[in-house]
């Protein structure tokens, strides 16, 4: 099947105002991934990994002065060469985006109803009443009670969790083929998070919605995405089926991420093990050394790792960028064993 979204060799440099004047910092350094229709792909990483920027690149929501290279194709159209009109069409109908803070997405001066209905009505094809009827049904679907009343309210009258559900409903209402979600549940309570995830899950299965889900939470991505891409320093270091990622990580960074999280399910009598912290701090692409970007923090690094950049190696339905991936497989599985 032809991919719905195809990202190839994406490189993004952002302008920075440094002490020595204007320079560019590389944030994304050669990211490639495909999303098939109806597929959910997770982009996981720590701060500076470039996960959010990758997502924003897809709809070209980039800061002024950003330099983008590579190829971005959505439904066989080249996103990078689109003019403003085509881009607006892409954003209003083909691809919907939701962000961490729902309040940033809505206009505080206008009612929730204006926000929900405006996009689909303007996108054309349907009149306001038709859209309204669908919106009310959808809001009920995402667990909003008294939807008619909610639509007349202003954003500040609603809680963050409710507003985020409304933003999601509005995103779905425009019948996108692809949903881009940037940490949509990070600011929410865990119980609300599980609601929101359940809604997204339903939409995916009922409507065949494809999704790119950005998060710092490996478990969350693994739980709701078919495939998970782990990003480090502006690159994808591992791309694997979510079902096997947790138990059989192939990149030392993925294994380290899993092992660094405290575990909830541990027997009462057990002495809690000291967490296997990753030394140092996450690096951005422009700070990373010229060899493997993870090499300074890696427990399995060899001299060769700092010499050249490890290429991405495909095997079956996974891909990993580590020189020692094949020999480390067993060791890494052992590292994450207590977390299984």
């Amino acid at each position: 099947m032809a991919p719905l979204l195809s990202v190839e060799g994406l490189v993004v440099d952002l302008p920075v105002r440094g002490p020595t004047g204007r320079t560019h910092h590389r944030i994304i350094d050669g990211v490639s991934f495909d999303v098939a229709p109806g597929e959910a792909v997770g982009l996981v990483g720590e701060s500076g990994s470039g996960k959010s920027l990758t997502l924003r690149s897809v709809v070209r929501l980039l800061p002024e002065g950003a330099e983008v290279r590579g190829s971005l194709r959505f439904a066989d159209a080249d996103v990078l060469t689109m003019n403003r009109k085509q881009l607006n069409a892409l954003r209003s109908s083909g691809v919907a985006t939701i962000f961490q803070d729902p309040r940033a997405a809505v206009n505080p001066m206008r009612t929730v109803g204006d926000f929900v209905l405006e996009g689909p009505v303007r996108a054309g094809g349907r009149n306001r009443d038709e859209v309204l009827r669908e919106a009310l049904g959808l809001l009920t679907d995402v667990g909003i009670d008294r939807p008619e009343q909610r639509l007349r309210q202003y954003p500040h009258e609603l809680s963050g969790g409710m507003l985020q559900r409304i933003v999601i409903a509005a995103a779905i209402l425009s019948r996108p083929q692809l949903l881009l979600a940037d940490e949509p549940t990070t600011a929410l309570d865990v119980t609300t998070q599980s609601d929101v995830i359940a809604i997204l899950d339903e939409q995916r299965h009922e409507r065949g919605l494809a999704m790119v889900f950005v998060t710092h939470d490996l478990d969350l991505a693994a739980a709701i995405c078919d495939r998970t891409c782990v990003m480090y320093a502006g690159r994808i270091v591992e791309d694997q089926l979510s079902s096997t990622l947790h138990d059989a990580p192939q990149h030392p960074y993925t294994a380290a991420l899993v092992a660094a999280r405290p575990v909830l399910d541990i027997d009462a009598g057990c002495e809690l093990p000291v967490l296997r912290a990753i030394r140092g701090r996450p690096a951005s692409a422009y700070e990373a050394p010229s060899g493997c970007p993870f090499e300074p923090r890696c427990n399995h690094a060899e001299p060769a790792c700092s010499a050249t950049r490890p290429p991405e190696v495909n095997s079956g339905c996974s891909r990993v960028a580590c020189f020692r991936a094949s020999e480390l497989r067993g060791i890494l599985a052992l590292e994450v064993e207590t977390h299984a």
Partner: protein, 270 residues
Amino acid sequence: MPEQTPPSAVVVDGLERVFGDTRAVADVSFSVVRGAALGIVGESGSGKTTVARMLMGLLRPTSGSIQLAGVDRSAPPRTEGERRERAREIQMVFQDPYGSLDRRQTASAALTEVLRLHANLSRQQRDERVRELGDLVGLDKRRLDSLPRALSGGERQRVAIARALATGAPTIILDEAVAALDVSIQAQVLNVLRQIREATGVTYLLISHDLAVVRYLVDDVVVMKAGAIVERGTAAQVLASPEHAYTQQLRDSVPRPNWRPARRTREGAA
């Protein structure tokens, strides 16, 4: 009570706080033995942060009592002297590593300021103590001499922890203190927190929504919902086999492999 029980660090009894017509905290009671660690688990609006602010003396309880190390501290301190005294009894580490340090003050200057206030030390002894505190939280000289903007989130939290320890307070409230950190950094700080507890016998009150973090750091937990405690017990027992429906729900909401979240019944559906 058996004689061997160590003295209590914090005793809270019937604590209540009303804002307007909402009861943010309703009849909350718990006690923490010196050197132990208590987790306060809950979501936003559960009243857990209000409890912390009352313990810190930043907010006056509507009713109920607070005892710190056996002394009644129900009312917020009124004079500078009382505030200084309270500061030596209990401290707090905030969630946001970016807002809790003065951006114009280096880490060592922040520590020195606190030591000058709370410890009668010579200049040399003070510098020595700053280095010791730095060692305890894993900050070297170069990091100590940096401004907050040159430090990562995890390093800033370490400064905040060291600063709390500098007053000599035996009890520290950790208010979502690792929630804003990257996973790899979070592990470092959690380990540091455990080491400190082992090395100094400090008492922790961990306020968190992250059950795994709570499980890792504390002995006992109370679960709060809408201002009241709904369940309490040892961390191992409450988190592994919760009895209250709400605790159960919290547990079920934690993402894990093969997790299929079910939607709650629709809010207020008739």
